[in-house]
């Protein structure tokens, strides 16, 4: 198998044994990018020269026999929402089209210090608003399993890059499903950690009470290693929690005997694609056969989650995106006076979905509507959190489908925002409750598109999720399947 097709932990082993060099791995990844990128559009910005230099430095560290961190010399892609010092960061928006950050996000700094080699910045829905990566100001990313399909979103570029071996692992962000849903669509592993587990410093803000950074990887072991590298308290993010992050890889022993797994009946509803339901139900049987106890639970307020989310997330977004005024950075349109400068810069700089959400959020927060929309949504958010707290008295983890369907067709939902929003119906509650959630592959539908299973855990209990995910992965072969791309 080519180097680019291997996992992070496989390559780490080979690097430690000096069987390969980081430069060889990096060259292999960039060759793969050259032969597939025209078809897929995973990246917005590539940094080949800097990557090769970084790989050389990693090789020197390995040569000196430094006890190596798992990420040393590993090519990693970053969603274009992470600030990268000196490397253009656009958030897939025209308004940040030529923005060069003066500093690194904390997560980026941690990856660099661990010796990771940054390949480039991946495509996404503009400001992470979307479920298909079609809302990018640059191009629509294609699903490696079928280029007529979306890769999911908003971290669609990262998901497609991992699935197509255009990087070894990637970082994404997840506000309502933006790591897990594209991971499901592209047949990879993606995790949204507990809110507060990973620093948000230097991550361009969408909805600050929901945003969280997480790994997107080829298997569960890689996910655990990436999470270990980025987790932990950061004084620069006042919402990052001062709790020690365990060594997650230590939980991957396959032993799930006695673990109690809850299956919420509200997640198996009319409208879900039958093959998705079947795939997840088959997966639950595998989990049961491996010794876990399975029982039905109820999360009664599930059906209200999308409505709550599209008030809270848009309200927070309307406030966060007020900073794009064309004054200190970002796009400025020529205009006669200050007010017109604001109006025109924002009109020309933002795409349609971003403007729609700013409008919805501004409306929900405006005088006369605040109580009816924003306050009401915050109250129902409390009920959704309470549902999970009740459920977790009876179980240690919850298993659901990640998305109601496999990857939909490009253009299928762009004219109907509400339909697009409903593709996050199974992932949004997790953000509202601040819980950790992971998606991993559990089968394919009749069109050969991957199906994703979601595992939800208690606050700060990523370890149990990874343990369960690993046990399932070891019992199945789904994670070994790769999309066939024409160009080698």
């Amino acid at each position: 198998m080519s180097l680019h097709a291997l996992t992070l932990h496989d390559l780490h082993g080979k690097l430690e044994k000096r069987e390969v060099s980081s430069v060889e791995i990096t060259e292999s990844v960039f060759q793969r990018i050259s032969s597939t990128e025209e078809k897929l559009h995973c990246y917005i910005t590539l940094c080949r020269d800097a990557a090769v230099q970084e790989a050389k430095r990693a090789d020197e560290r390995l040569k000196r026999g430094e006890a190596s961190a798992p990420l040393l010399g590993i090519p990693v892609a970053l969603k274009d929402i992470f600030l990268t010092r000196g490397l253009r960061t656009t958030c897939a928006s025209k308004i940040l089209g030529s923005f060069i950050p003066p500093y690194d996000a904390t997560t980026v700094r941690k990856l660099k210090e661990a010796g990771a080699v940054v390949t480039g910045k991946t495509n996404m829905d503009e400001f992470a608003m979307g479920s298909s990566t079609e809302n990018s100001a640059f191009a629509a990313t294609r699903n490696p399993w079928n280029p007529e399909r979306v890769p999911g979103g908003s971290s669609g570029g990262s998901a497609a890059a991992v699935a197509a071996d255009q990087c070894i692992a990637a970082l994404g962000t997840d506000t309502g499903g933006s790591i897990r849903q594209p991971a499901s669509c592209c047949g990879i592993v993606g995790m949204k950690p507990t809110y507060g587990r990973v620093s948000r410093y230097g991550v361009i803000a969408f909805a600050s009470s929901l945003d969280q950074v997480g790994p997107m990887t080829k298997d569960v072991t890689d996910c655990a290693l990436m999470l270990e590298a980025i987790a932990g308290h950061d004084p620069s993010d006042s919402t990052s929690v001062d709790a020690p992050a365990p060594a997650y890889a230590g939980f991957l022993n396959g032993d799930i005997k006695g673990l109690r797994v809850g299956i919420p009946k509200e997640y198996f509803i009319k409208g879900i694609q039958p093959e998705v339901e079947q795939g997840v139900k088959d997966a639950i049987r595998v989990i049961e056969r491996n010794g876990a106890g399975v029982e039905e639970i109820s999360l009664p307020h599930t059906e209200y989650a999308v409505a709550v989310y599209y008030i809270i997330a848009t309200a927070e977004a309307s406030s966060n995106l007020a900073r794009y005024d064309g004054m200190k950075y970002g796009y400025r349109a020529p205009a006669r006076d200050l007010t017109e400068t604001y109006m025109k810069s924002r009109e020309e700089g933002f795409g349609a979905e971003v403007k729609r959400r700013i409008m919805l959020g501004t409306y929900a927060l405006s005088a006369g509507y605040y109580d009816a929309y924003y306050l009401k949504a915050q109250k129902v958010r409390a009920l959704i959190k309470r549902d999970f707290a009740e459920a977790f008295r009876k179980c240690d983890a919850i298993v659901t489908p990640t998305a109601p369907t496999t990857a939909f067709k490009i253009g299928e939902k762009t004219q109907d925002p509400l339909q697009m929003y409903l593709s996050d119906i199974f992932t949004i509650s997790v953000n509202l409750a601040g819980l950790p959630g992971l998606s991993l592959p559990c089968g394919f539908d009749g069109d050969g598109l991957p199906i994703g299973m979601q595992i939800i855990g208690k606050h700060f209990d990523e370890a149990t999720i990874l343990k369960l995910a690993f046990a399932y992965e070891q019992a199945t072969e789904w994670h070994k399947k790769k999309p066939i791309l024409d160009h080698g």
Binding site: P102, T239, K344, Y373, L383, L432
Partner: protein
């Protein structure tokens, strides 16, 4: 109707956005449909529920106000849409 065209115009001003008449019409329809969907929240009695702003219990984090990792003013000014010497150049706000 949950939202009228006039309200869309009013909110656009609040959000410092502007739309063409065609865009305005499409947007009004789309927002109306979304707000009608959101209306399902009214089915729930939340009179006794405390609103939740944050899912994880955290208290305000205080730290000393110390300068750290200060980026150079050049790297900050490099992103300015307009610059004059070491200043951001912005449209006139006082006549």
């Amino acid at each position: 109707m949950k939202i009228t065209r006039e309200e869309v115009q009013r909110v656009a001003v609040l959000a410092r956005l502007q739309f063409s008449p065609e865009e305005e019409e499409i947007l009004t329809g789309q927002l109306d449909k979304i707000l009608q969907y959101v209306e399902k929240l009214d089915q729930l009695d939340t009179a006794d529920v405390e609103p939740l702003a944050h899912a994880v219990d955290i208290v305000n984090a205080f730290r000393d106000d110390r300068v750290a990792n200060r980026p150079s003013s050049d790297s900050l000014l490099a992103n300015a849409p307009a610059r004059e010497k070491d200043f951001f150049k912005v449209p006139k706000i006082i006549e």
